[in-house]
């Protein structure tokens, strides 16, 4: 039983639930971004048996440049038939979906709204890869960008320093890709639904040494939506927290993990009133496969320096003690930027309510972790089957 409001840590006024969830197939999609968002939004409303939410919160990282549309919350509101519903857009780079969930959570917890529809998505595959990289790269500090730094470059710098400190190997970060592709092969909505042998990962071309192509997530289109509500629903949002860090990588002190994740996890656990020991399934931000290992350690799901061993021992596989990224993660399910933070929560909702056909795990508590930019604005969300 949840404790009475007055005693709750983190200042929650009332409990907040997820009443419905849905997402599109992720991958290369012909539909427009508003169409993809409408598909997810309508399905989530149907799932929650809700006609009309009190508010709409949209997340997309950069619709102005990816699809040439501004004022995007109003655009989506009108497109999905919620033109008169108050709407806004939440944006924290690649973790925008989690930011939107937070905004909805806050509005419902504060009693401002009874129901909020959250819909996140992105469309990128119609642009060529250099252009997509350039647009994503704008979330990097301008000085570092002037030296040619891209997301994979910064991720490689962090990965090499982390590997030097922990002793993790190329094989360790490659096994994450093998596992997540294995899971993706069981997810009919995943961008990549194929298994990938270890050799393929190890032999794939270098992108930013030591990161190879199969250590990096794909460029994807897609959308995901959830209904956040005050009325008791199938899943409760037990805790949600954000952490921030310096925009320039060079200002940071510690390359053994991401401070923004650690702060977010601490805030989420404090609000939930429990720690990582209760988490039974996790969706982590594996935009680059070493980030899954780093994130396990940052969220306390693995002791510092031990995540690689847990993966190698199969503990994070679907049938392991703590399944990580049963959806396939960003690596295999795909990474439609502004949609990803919501898609992680949709997967956990399905896992916690027994709807994850083909990849179902046994769990009552799930953790989602989303990284914005090169870990400048990260979120951790804890969900519990109600």
């Amino acid at each position: 039983m949840p404790s009475p409001p007055a005693a709750r840590a983190g200042g929650i006024v009332s409990d907040v639930y997820i009443g419905g969830a849905a997402m599109t197939r992720i991958g290369r999609r012909e539909e427009s971004l508003p169409d993809l968002m409408a598909e997810a939004a309508r399905a989530a409303l149907r799932d929650a048996e809700l006609d009309r939410p009190d508010a709409l919160i949209v997340s997309a990282m950069n619709p102005e440049e990816f699809v040439g549309e501004g004022n995007f919350a109003s655009h989506v509101g009108t497109h999905v038939g919620l033109a008169r519903v108050p709407s806004l857009r939440a944006e924290t780079a690649t973790s925008s979906g989690a930011a939107a969930l937070f905004a909805a959570f806050a509005a419902v917890a504060a009693g401002l709204h009874r129901t909020v529809l959250v819909v996140g998505g992105e469309k990128m595959t119609h642009l060529d890869t250099p252009r997509v990289s350039e647009l994503i790269g704008r979330s990097i500090d301008a000085y570092e960008r002037s030296y040619g730094a891209t997301m994979p470059a910064l991720a490689a710098l962090v990965t090499r320093a982390w590997m030097a400190r922990t002793g993790a190997t190329l094989r360790d970060i490659s096994l994450v890709a093998v596992k997540n592709h294995e899971n993706g092969a069981r997810n009919p909505l995943a961008h990549f639904q194929m298994r990938v042998p270890l050799e393929t990962v190890l032999d794939s071309r270098l992108v930013a040494d030591p990161l190879r192509l199969f250590h990096c997530c794909p460029i994807s289109d897609g959308a995901a939506a959830v209904v956040v509500q005050a009325a008791p629903g199938p899943v409760r949002i037990a805790g949600i927290g954000q952490g921030s860090d310096y925009l320039p990588l060079r200002y940071r002190d510690d390359f053994t993990g991401f401070r923004a994740t650690r702060d977010a996890a601490q805030a989420a656990y404090r609000m939930a009133g429990f720690g990582p020991e209760r988490v039974e399934v996790a969706e982590l931000h594996d935009a680059f496969t070493p980030f899954e290992l780093i994130s396990m350690e940052d969220t306390g799901l693995a002791p510092a320096g031990k995540a690689a061993r847990l993966v190698a021992q199969g503990e994070t596989a679907l049938d392991g003690r703590l399944p990580v990224n049963p959806s396939g993660g960003l690596k295999a399910r795909g990474h439609p930027l502004g949609g990803t933070g919501v898609a992680q929560v949709v997967e956990l909702y399905w896992q916690l309510t027994g709807q994850a056909t083909g990849r179902q795990v046994t769990a009552r508590v799930g953790l989602a972790q989303s990284i914005g930019g090169l870990a400048t604005s990260n979120w951790v969300t804890l969900l519990e089957a109600a």
Binding site: E144, R145, Y147, G148, A156, A164, A208, D209, R252, D253
Partner: protein
């Protein structure tokens, strides 16, 4: 306050660079930086306000050498950069970290000491001898031969001046 700043420098008292001399010898290569008068934090290149407490920072200069924190080689660099693109994060005396390019990463590892120099306002790390230095400037994309040669000549001249 200073102990706190050293800790924030991430390098603590255990790391030699955090305590290394910040004095730049006359005529030696230096890197423009800024220091927070309140918490002593260093930023390179200079920042207007301290990212930790918002205090206006004062200009300073740091010695142009340090230790490799991490490095990578980018094989699909953005438009305007030649592939492969070698870059490194170098920790300078005082604990500030600095982003720079290099000619290669062979034999490099975190913790290795490198020197840094600017040519045409771009900073390069190196552990290099003259021959590798020549290769570095020869690869510079788009630059006419005369500019490449003059870049190399300036780099070599700086070295001689520093030695004398």
């Amino acid at each position: 306050m200073k102990a706190e700043a050293a800790a924030r420098g991430g390098n603590g008292a255990a790391r030699p660079l955090a305590r290394a001399s910040l004095a730049v010898e006359p005529g030696a290569e230096s890197i423009p930086a800024s220091r927070c008068p309140r918490c002593e934090r260093l930023c390179a290149p200079p920042a207007r306000f301290c990212p930790d407490d918002g205090t206006a920072m004062a200009r300073t200069a740091l010695p142009a050498h340090g230790e490799i924190v991490s490095f990578t080689t980018l094989y699909s660099p953005p438009t305007g950069f030649a592939s492969p693109l070698h870059m490194a994060l170098v920790e300078l005396p005082g604990g500030a970290k600095f982003f720079c390019h290099g000619a290669g990463t062979r034999g490099l590892r975190p913790g290795k000491r490198v020197s840094i120099e600017a040519v045409d306002q771009v900073y390069y790390f190196s552990t290099l001898g003259l021959a590798e230095r020549a290769a570095l400037f020869w690869r510079r994309r788009g630059a006419p031969v005369t500019e490449r040669l003059s870049g190399f000549a300036r780099s070599a001249a700086k070295r001689l001046v520093r030695r004398s």
